[in-house]
Symmetry: C2
Subunit: 390 residues, 2 copies
């Protein structure tokens, strides 16, 4: 794809430099290109005089060879002529009429010269397969003379919501509630250079769910399905997945809070992730299981996540044997970061993810943390928000 | 704009809940809706028997009022009927024929019930102006019943490169080099929810540069211009900016390394940032000056940046009186993070930004850091990269 459109995409091949960057020796300063030996001993009290043969404009390739005792004016970035091996900075020169330059300081060979290949050597690997392309990488690809680049295809990820009560439409009919998980998960997939494929909402019926999962497996690289993954009478998703193909469910039930009912499955070599219906659980499961899985498929590493150390403003409890995710709001005052737990339970409470700016993760073997304990917070929003002026 | 397209955009108004979320009292567990008083004293050895009047399906609005000594089956998320104020979990019940339920544990009023407004109260401010919309925010907006949302317009930012030697085309003619700054800056602007406007490349001529800057100021909200901002004979940009309008250049020359020649200007109430021509300098100036300026225009806060503590594997030198940005490559081994300076000078060396995964910032009043000193690194890539398998 064109380099300029490849922002955020993942390189699918190493990028090898086909030429030196810079391609030629270039002036690193404004001044005069010289043969360094001609300046040896030059000082303010004992200047050297060189015959100046003209000027090299930055956009031109010099077509002369500098002889001994000659100089030529050059600007930063200008290409060094044959016969020159150093630049005398303009500050250490004085023009003496049109054809003579006074040199008041000596230079050594290579001084103030950017040599060809100084930035990148021809044949070197500049970026490796799996690199997520940042803005400066686009610049580097252009510097290498590349206009197009090979990137990994966007994984197509199907997203299915299950639940008789869910609707994308009118909330006033019956006990209808909006489907929250699809917009959230599709947004999260878009952020990760995936192509979300909307499978819509299906009711809690074996065949309806099965048909959609089969469609997802057939058309996409991965399927995410929300709700129906617990152990109640409506929780058919694990059985449905097992009915589709082998190996089916690999893991069902994970020692994390929330998100415990998460299920991980493979059918026809494609992953199906069975996410809890509660939006907070679904989102945390996405971060912890789906995001790494997508990076694995793309053969790239997880991008770094912002973390900060903060003191707890009250005690928080974990669950021994489970990893617990606590949503917190971190504020900074007088240089001290304080973390306030937004709500330590209630996976149905979506506003906890909206009010929070970070998570604390309490490990499996920790009962909880006392007030004032220093914890590490994974930040997903700024510490401070703008005050409303409405 | 439609909620689903608003990922990464900035709210231009507070979002106020027009209704409770959830809209009604709802069951938080599978079980039986009851009047709590009817269960008082119930235990395995002294169960209470209630007359069960049917079942509430999750998608329906119940149209009955529960009488005393009655129960009705309900699933998690089902809407509570009139007359019920608690849920007995299914684990604490036993069906005794079709019309009788044995209750073996008492419940208190509100037990196992998600009350209306528990997540969001009607009339409360759910998100404030200036919030950058994350995936879970899209879900929350849908939970509030919103389909469209008001967001700040994308700032239009013009990007102009100056330099006789620059080309987007054939590198073999003369001493041509590719323009690196426009692809990099336009990519960085795209990441920040801006609309980059490409003003192309102009040669180092007063009128050509001036015409393009005037065009940028006329059509866009901000102008970025690279190169020509130092103090040599080709460095006309500050004078050109001053010739366009008032107040013109406000700052020219900043005590940071690299990026010292950065200039900040305002013309007709619009910012012009005069960035150095060296790609590393231009990019660091962008991060330090343009990114905060864009957040200011959007009335939002800077998103958190990932940071990590690491030990230096060799000494690095700062410049007293200047803030110095050192590109480093951080690696983790046996749980210890080591930072290796990629190159401490050479703003022309673009590969330093490609090889590095972070910056160390040496403050103005620090001469440098010794080997093994623990420093804070601002990370922009993962700690580890995939090994090449090509």
């Amino acid at each position: 794809m064109p380099v300029q459109q490849a922002l955020g995409r993942i390189l699918s091949k190493d990028v090898v430099a086909q030429a030196h960057v810079p391609a030629f020796d270039r002036a690193a300063m404004d001044g005069f290109a010289v043969n360094a030996e001609d300046t040896y001993g030059a000082s303010i009290s004992a200047p050297v005089f060189l015959h100046n043969v003209g000027e090299i404009r930055i956009e031109e390739k010099p077509n002369l060879t500098l002889k001994r005792a000659e100089s030529i004016a050059i600007v930063t970035g200008g290409q060094m002529p044959q016969g020159a091996n150093a630049i005398v900075m303009i500050e250490h020169t004085r023009a003496m009429g049109k054809e003579t330059v006074e040199i008041t300081s000596e230079v050594h060979p290579a001084e103030n010269v950017s040599r060809a290949g100084e930035d990148v050597e021809r044949g070197s690997i500049v970026m490796t397969k799996g690199t997520r392309l940042l803005p400066q990488d686009l610049g580097m690809l252009r510097a290498l003379g590349l206009v197009e680049i090979e990137v990994a295809q966007k994984p197509r990820v199907a997203v299915l919501s299950t639940g008789n009560e869910l609707t994308d439409g009118d909330l006033r009919e019956g006990n209808r509630i909006p489907d929250i998980n699809r917009p959230t998960l599709m947004g999260a997939l878009t952020e990760l250079a995936c192509e979300p494929v909307d499978l819509g909402i299906v009711p809690d019926q074996f065949d309806s769910i099965r048909d959609k999962l089969v469609e997802g497996i057939r058309d996409c690289d991965m399927v995410l399905v929300t709700a129906g993954t617990s152990v109640g009478p409506r929780d058919m998703v694990p059985n449905i997945i097992d009915s589709i193909g082998k190996p089916g469910m690999l893991v069902h039930g994970i020692a994390i809070r929330p998100s415990m009912p998460t299920g991980l499955a493979v059918v026809d070599g494609k992953p199906i992730v069975s996410l809890p219906g509660y939006p907070v659980s679904a989102y945390i499961s996405f971060l912890e299981f789906v995001h790494p899985l997508i990076c694995h498929i793309l053969d790239t590493n997880l991008p770094p996540r912002p973390r900060i150390r903060a003191r707890l403003n009250r005690r928080i409890a974990g669950v021994l044997g489970s990893r617990t995710y606590v949503r917190v709001k971190v504020t900074m005052s007088n240089g001290v970061c304080m973390a306030e737990p937004v709500r330590t339970s209630g996976a149905g409470i979506l506003s906890s993810l909206v009010q929070a700016n970070g998570f604390i993760i309490i490990p499996e073997n920790v009962e909880g943390y006392e007030e004032d304990h220093e914890v590490e917070v994974e930040l997903f929003r700024p510490l401070e928000r703008k005050k409303s002026v409405n």
